[in-house]
């Protein structure tokens, strides 16, 4: 494969050009075929060691990276810990230095502190992939979301309306998704309770709608985010019941979306809160495709970052 990928790390969406993104997605689309083989394993990264550093509980993303590495025959070191944001500095660096002694070739890092993967990247000589940092970004989620949309809607996203509903202000998924979909030419609309919406000037170029229906109207992609009621111990909306009632997605709201609209969710889903249970068999529901594409996108990134280093 003639790979041209000019980045050492994947820390955030911002530095990626459209071409870079296309390279990642095309690579992922090619690799996806491997996942469907009877024995989904290729020797491409044999001898490489991927270290998963998870300072936040996350089964799905960690498993997705682990599987991506194993399909490519890389070895996986898993390190899980609860990182309190206060202690992050010293502990994180100590941990990383300790793990460096085990000779990893790439770090995958999830951390509750925004900027933690950037911090690590400044202190190591190997690639770092951000698997979600604080309220900042979750770039691999955005890439897998984009791949899912590509597969269904084609690569030209101009004129496509993407609606993201939920805790926009504190969601790293929303941040990365807004950036990537805007970069690819789509229009992004966001909505949710007023307490979870950023002011327009801080919305990264997304349009902020006070009414969910307004964001969803005519959208070709509707994405619900997982909501948490509290941040820093303070409830941000009155009750789950009220959230579901006024900000949850259901058939009635989705009837406003464009014909053939996709329904996406980064998981894990609170059924009955951000998504009404009736949406489980919504025709445009692609939540499982997102999971499969997650593995493919992470395979692509491991390949691109590790192979590019060799070239």
């Amino acid at each position: 494969m003639g790979i041209e990928f000019p980045h050492r790390h994947l820390l955030e969406i911002g530095p990626l050009s459209r071409e870079d993104i296309e390279v990642i997605l095309r690579t992922a689309a090619n690799l996806k075929e491997i996942l469907r083989r009877p024995i989904p394993k290729v020797p491409t990264l044999r001898g490489k060691v991927v270290a998963n550093l998870f300072f936040e509980p996350s089964t799905r993303t960690r498993l997705s990276f682990e599987r991506a590495a194993k399909v490519l025959s890389a070895e996986v070191l898993n390190f899980s810990a609860r990182g309190s944001s206060l202690e992050k500095g010293e502990n994180l660096l100590d941990t990383v230095r300790n793990l460096m002694a085990m000779g990893p070739d790439l770090f995958v890092i999830r951390h509750p502190a925004s900027g933690a993967p950037h911090f690590v990247a400044r202190h190591v000589r190997i690639p770092v992939i951000n698997a979600g940092d604080g309220f900042h970004e979750h770039p691999t989620q955005a890439l897998l979301d984009l791949l899912t949309v590509w597969e269904r809607k084609g690569p030209d996203l101009r004129g496509l309306k993407v609606a993201i509903i939920g805790d926009i202000r504190h969601s790293r998924v929303a941040h990365s998704d807004i950036l990537i979909f805007r970069k690819m030419g789509a229009e992004v609309y966001v909505s949710g309770p007023g307490t979870l919406l950023p002011p327009e000037r801080e919305a990264l170029g997304a349009r902020v709608c006070l009414r969910v229906e307004e964001a969803v109207e005519g959208a070709g992609v509707v994405m619900a985010l997982r909501v948490q009621k509290e941040r820093h111990g303070r409830p941000l909306f009155p009750s789950w019941h009220e959230y579901a009632r006024f900000f949850g997605l259901n058939r009635r709201v989705l009837a406003q979306a464009a014909e053939g609209a996709l329904l996406m969710h980064p998981g894990p889903i609170n059924w009955g809160i951000e998504l009404a249970p009736e949406l489980e068999d919504f025709p445009g529901q692609v939540i499982l495709e997102q999971v499969e594409n997650g593995v493919a996108v992470r395979m692509a990134l491991l390949l691109l970052l590790l192979k590019a280093g060799e070239a």
């Binding site: 309770p193 007023g194 909306f237 009220e242 009632r245």
Partner: protein
């Protein structure tokens, strides 16, 4: 909302109010003319309307006809404190005072922090009839200042605004959330602006009077600090805030700067703040004990100036009935608050007579502006609008006595005072609700 359209259209009463001085800020109208009511709505408004057969004529020469007055700050005490007031007595006092609509504050028992309480109030309002009732729901659950009340459900049940009135929202973070969340449901946010750390234990305005009485004072700064915070938060969130019962010159100065910066802030004051000063409590008169407290003469003059300049856009009564149980006690033990629905019109007319405001501004302060700020219908005499009307005889002289007042309790420092001006006809949805 007070009544459904259906109920209004059942009303076939037709009458003509003839020869009144018509004051309608929504059309910039101050002229003599006639107004025809038909089927619950204003059918026509003109310099002269020919009298058709079967139309009752109300001669109104010398009287002022205003869009129905809206009091955006009353305590009706129901549910839970019916010995002080209930909807029956409170709405009778409202229409007797010329008000066709009132917004009732949520510090009831239980507080109005759930759709059940909001619906209860509206059900009772429908039973009682008379004036329209717009419930104001709590900002925080139980008015405890910790978690947001369910604004969406409250809005759906019929609340038009949120406030923790009676208690300030001490936590600035919660107030910010309230403004952000209110935006989702287009609810008016009303702030009882008081810094509880500064006001704690206070009984009267802090100054020479508190010193002479030997009671703890509430400094003007308790209000100023809180008003400044609300202005700052309104700017941060980009959503309007309405300041209740402004009583100090310091707060007026902050409102002035807010207006200069184009910030979305509105404010109300109550008649007692532009009429009385702290001198009224000098003999430990609990009837004049109110929160915020009656202030200094300088403050009173600043409030009048603010009304004249439009820095304060609303006159609301903060009608706060208390029974002798709460008022006929030693001063520090007495409850804060005075009734105001039935004295607001003559006290506001004093401002007109003293040249502080024009008659048209009076209509704006008592009707058009509060309706607009609450986002409710009313405040206009445009043909086609629901016929909510207040006819005032500006020269009717009367004395405030317990017998004259319709409120269940008579806790007002104006008892025994001669008033000039009174509502002589109050019409809600085309129905004459006052006089009964």
């Amino acid at each position: 909302m007070g009544k459904t359209m259906e109920e209004e259209s059942l009303n076939t009463e037709r009458f003509l109010i003839r020869g009144a001085r018509i004051l309608d800020p929504s059309q910039g109208l101050d002229q003599e003319g006639d107004l025809l009511v038909e089927g619950g709505r204003i059918a026509a408004l003109d310099r002269e309307i020919p009298v058709e057969e079967g139309v009752q004529v109300i001669e109104a020469r010398g009287c002022w006809l205003l869009p129905g007055l809206v009091d955006m700050h009353v305590h009706l005490r129901e549910p839970g404190e019916e010995w002080k007031e209930d909807l029956e007595s409170g709405l009778r006092a409202a229409v007797a005072g010329g008000f066709t609509a009132v917004a009732c504050m949520p510090n009831t028992r239980p507080p109005n922090d759930s759709p059940e309480v909001t619906r209860y109030i509206l059900d009772r309002a429908r039973e009682v009839g008379r004036a329209r009732v717009y419930p104001v729901a709590c900002i925080s659950r139980g008015q405890e200042g910790r978690e947001l009340a369910p604004f969406g459900e409250l809005r759906e049940a019929g609340a038009v605004a949120v406030s923790d009135d009676g208690r300030p929202v001490a936590d600035s973070g919660l107030m910010r959330l309230a403004l952000e969340y209110a935006r989702s449901f287009d609810l008016t946010v009303i702030s009882h602006a008081e810094d509880p750390g500064l006001s704690a234990g206070g009984q009267v305005n802090e100054g020479p009077v508190s010193a002479r009485l030997g009671v703890k004072g509430i400094p003007a700064e308790a209000e100023a600090v809180a008003v400044f915070r609300e202005v700052a938060l309104a700017a941060l969130v980009g959503y309007p805030v309405h300041i209740a019962h402004v009583s100090t010159a310091a707060a007026v100065e902050i409102l002035r700067r807010a207006r200069e910066s184009g910030l979305p802030v509105t404010a109300e004051t109550a008649p007692h703040y532009f009429t009385l000063t702290e001198e009224a409590v000098l003999d430990y008169n609990t009837l004049a004990k109110v929160n915020p407290p009656l202030r200094s003469e300088d403050d009173r003059l600043a409030i009048r100036e603010a009304l004249s300049e439009g820095l304060i856009q609303v006159i609301a009564t903060d009608h706060a009935p208390h029974s002798p149980l709460e008022k006929e006690v030693e001063f520090p033990a007495a409850a804060f608050g005075m009734i105001g629905l039935e004295t607001a019109v003559p006290l506001t007319l004093n401002l007109v007579r003293e040249g502080v405001i024009t008659p048209l501004r009076m209509a704006e302060l008592l009707s058009t502006n509060p309706a607009r700020i609450l986002g409710v219908p009313g405040g206009t005499l445009k043909p086609g609008s629901p016929a909510d009307l207040t006819l005032i005889d500006p020269d009717r002289v009367w004395v405030v006595t317990e017998e004259e007042l319709h409120s269940k309790n008579k806790n007002t420092p104006f008892l025994g005072r001669e008033m000039r001006g009174r509502a002589v006809l109050t019409v809600v949805g085309g129905r004459i609700v006052w006089p009964e």
